[in-house]
């Protein structure tokens, strides 16, 4: 998976060509908008009076064209979907903002992109629109603080795709979206015929072939298997295996302990062991996930992603937790760590004083090296060690929040 190119994630002085690349992309964007007629506000507004539905055709035409090509490349393993920017979903600000923008669209006759094209081709109304946009953006910057909590938290779903929401695979969603768009085009043509008095016989017949081609490519995405987790990990293996070998992602019990009390981080503790072991002893707040079920919690982790969320995996030793770590990392969960030495190591440190926990010799790897008088689960002192008693502990902290791709300044946001 070589695409997208890491050097083009954004502009950077380290990569001077990046500036040119984005200029060229923008050039093509502006050019295509203009040749489609989007420099003209009357043509844009006509969409909302059903006489000329160019806006719908261009917008949805572009979306489905790009979408089928992207997901074909993703399915073939050429394009890494996890490195493609998917706008973070802040549901309510996006709906409310969208409604407001709809009002602005029909009153002003443009959207920001088209207004720029209109302005540079001499349309004076576009110039006033652009000035208005700048004023509106300024006003937002000055008033955002009054509803900051809502704007930052309301309906926050993280990187949330239609596949996650509908729980359907890529190919099915892509096909459904293509069919929906084609249905809308069909409706648009009828409206243009009856309201806009357009002669449909003059429309190019080629469009039916185009529609068929889109459906065909969309269906093919269903049959190209999305890369499996193992395949995805293989792509990442050079970097990730090195990190494992250098012990960069294994944290000592002391660090996990301090993280449990760190208010700045959201901690998810996953205990990848048998239910029996979990019932005997586990950390307070740890959730039991069977080794076989690690993959199934990925959608939940992705949907609940937050920039300050840290996932720590543990098993009795490290092997099972490491395997689970590879799965989560392959599925692009950020900030995943392994408890060094596992539960056995945790108990060696925090369970020293507890008489009901006795060490035993274990002959098989990944088995609990302690015997418990009863299955107290998380009611042991060692499940939630006292902060006072263990306030000062020395260790080399390894948890570093990863800010890749879900960056707050990403996309148009």
């Amino acid at each position: 998976m070589n695409f997208p190119l890491a050097s083009l994630q954004t502009t950077s002085a380290a990569n001077p060509w990046s500036y040119l690349v984005f200029l060229v992309i923008g050039f093509a964007f502006g050019y295509v908008l203009e040749i489609s007629g989007f420099g003209n506000s009357k043509k844009l507004a006509a969409q909302f009076y059903f006489t000329d539905l160019t806006v719908l055709k261009v917008m949805f035409g572009a979306i489905i064209t790009a979408m089928v090509l992207l997901f074909t490349m993703i399915g073939l393993g050429v394009l890494d979907y996890s490195q493609v920017y998917v706008n973070t979903t802040y549901l309510w600000p996006m709906i409310v903002g969208g409604l407001i923008m709809g009002v602005g669209f029909i009153v002003g006759g443009f959207c920001p992109g088209t207004s720029l094209v209109g302005m540079v081709t001499g349309k004076v109304d576009a110039l006033f629109f652009v000035l208005g946009v700048l004023a509106g953006i300024f006003a937002f910057g000055e008033t955002e603080i009054y509803f900051d909590y809502w704007w930052q938290n309301s309906g926050y779903l993280g990187r949330f795709t239609l596949m996650d929401w509908l729980n359907l695979p890529n190919g099915i969603v892509v096909t459904l979206v293509v069919l929906m768009a084609l249905f809308m085009f069909f409706g648009a043509e009828l409206l243009e015929k009856y309201v806009g008095k357009r002669d449909l016989a003059k429309e190019p017949k080629l469009r039916f072939a185009g529609a068929a081609a889109l459906i065909a490519v969309a269906l093919s995405v269903i049959f190209i298997d999305s890369p499996s987790t193992e395949q995805k990990y293989t792509q990442l293996a050079p970097v990730k295996d090195t990190a494992l070998a250098k012990r960069e992602v294994q944290i000592v019990p002391a660090e996990l302990f301090h993280t449990m009390y760190d208010n700045k981080l959201q901690l998810v503790i996953l205990d990848i062991r048998s239910e029996a072991d979990y019932n005997l002893f586990h950390l307070r707040g740890a959730r039991n996930v069977q080794p076989k079920e690690v993959k199934s919690i990925v959608p939940e982790l992705l949907a609940n992603a937050a920039p300050n969320k840290v996932v720590v995996l543990m098993s009795n030793d490290e092997a099972t937790a490491t395997a689970a770590w590879k799965t989560l990392v392959a599925e692009a969960i950020p900030n995943v760590y392994i408890l060094e030495g596992g539960v056995n190591n945790w108990l060696a440190f925090f369970g020293k004083e507890d008489r009901t926990i006795t060490p035993i010799k274990a002959t098989v790897s990944e088995s609990l090296q302690y015997k418990f008088t009863s299955a107290l689960g998380d009611r042991y002192l060692a499940s939630a060690p006292s902060l006072i008693e263990y306030e000062t502990l020395k260790y080399e902290p390894k948890i570093k929040l990863q800010f890749k791709r879900d960056k707050s300044g990403g996309g148009c946001g």
């Binding site: 007629g37 917008m59 572009a62």
Partner: protein, 189 residues
């Protein structure tokens, strides 16, 4: 050979250069296909889609940072983009927007559509259209930042990669516009 003696040579060259014959727009489906190819290429090579309001946002923050840098440093929304010595213009969307303006101009020029004019319906004056354009732009600018994107950066780009928020946004934009269309019809019809 000396029929056009009264036209100054320089003015004639300027007129020919600027006022090329006007061509038709491309068919909407063609436009959609081409735009889709540009969008695909953007995502494929850079992982980013297209954008517009984000670029305009950064231009304005840049100006604000020149005039009142302490204010920028104290406002969290602006801090993210231009706090301290951060350069708000060093971001891909700024260059994409600059490119879009050059591209739009070039297309307008090559296709003979460079013309100083105001597009409006027949029932309002030019001044009224200018006012409504400014007002609509202001509303749009505010809404775009609230939604963290506009039709280019969120609806188009987010839509193609199947972001739920982008699709919800897209339907909201169309919904909002259609709901108000009847009440502002005098501006266009």
């Amino acid at each position: 050979m000396t029929t056009l003696t009264h036209t100054k040579p320089a003015k004639k060259i300027w007129a020919t250069w600027l006022h090329r014959p006007t061509k038709d727009y491309v068919h909407p489906y063609t436009g959609g296909l081409l735009l889709g190819l540009v969008l695909f290429a953007a995502f494929f090579f850079t992982g980013n889609g297209l954008g517009a309001s984000g670029g305009l946002n950064r231009y304005i923050v840049f100006i604000e940072d020149l005039i009142a840098p302490q204010h920028v440093d104290r406002t969290p929304y602006l801090l993210k983009m231009a706090g301290g010595s951060k350069d708000p213009l060093d971001d891909w969307v700024v260059f994409a927007v600059a490119g879009a303006m050059i591209g739009g101009f070039t297309s307008g020029w090559l296709n003979g559509r460079l013309k100083i004019e105001t597009n409006k319906g027949p029932n309002i004056s030019v001044r009224q259209r200018w006012f409504l354009a400014f007002l609509g732009g202001a509303i749009m600018g505010y809404g775009a930042r609230m939604a963290r994107g506009c039709t280019s950066g969120l609806a188009l780009s987010g839509g193609a990669v199947l972001s739920v928020g982008a699709w919800a946004f897209m339907f909201s934009v169309f919904g909002g516009a259609y709901m108000l269309a009847y009440f502002v019809r005098k501006e266009w019809l």
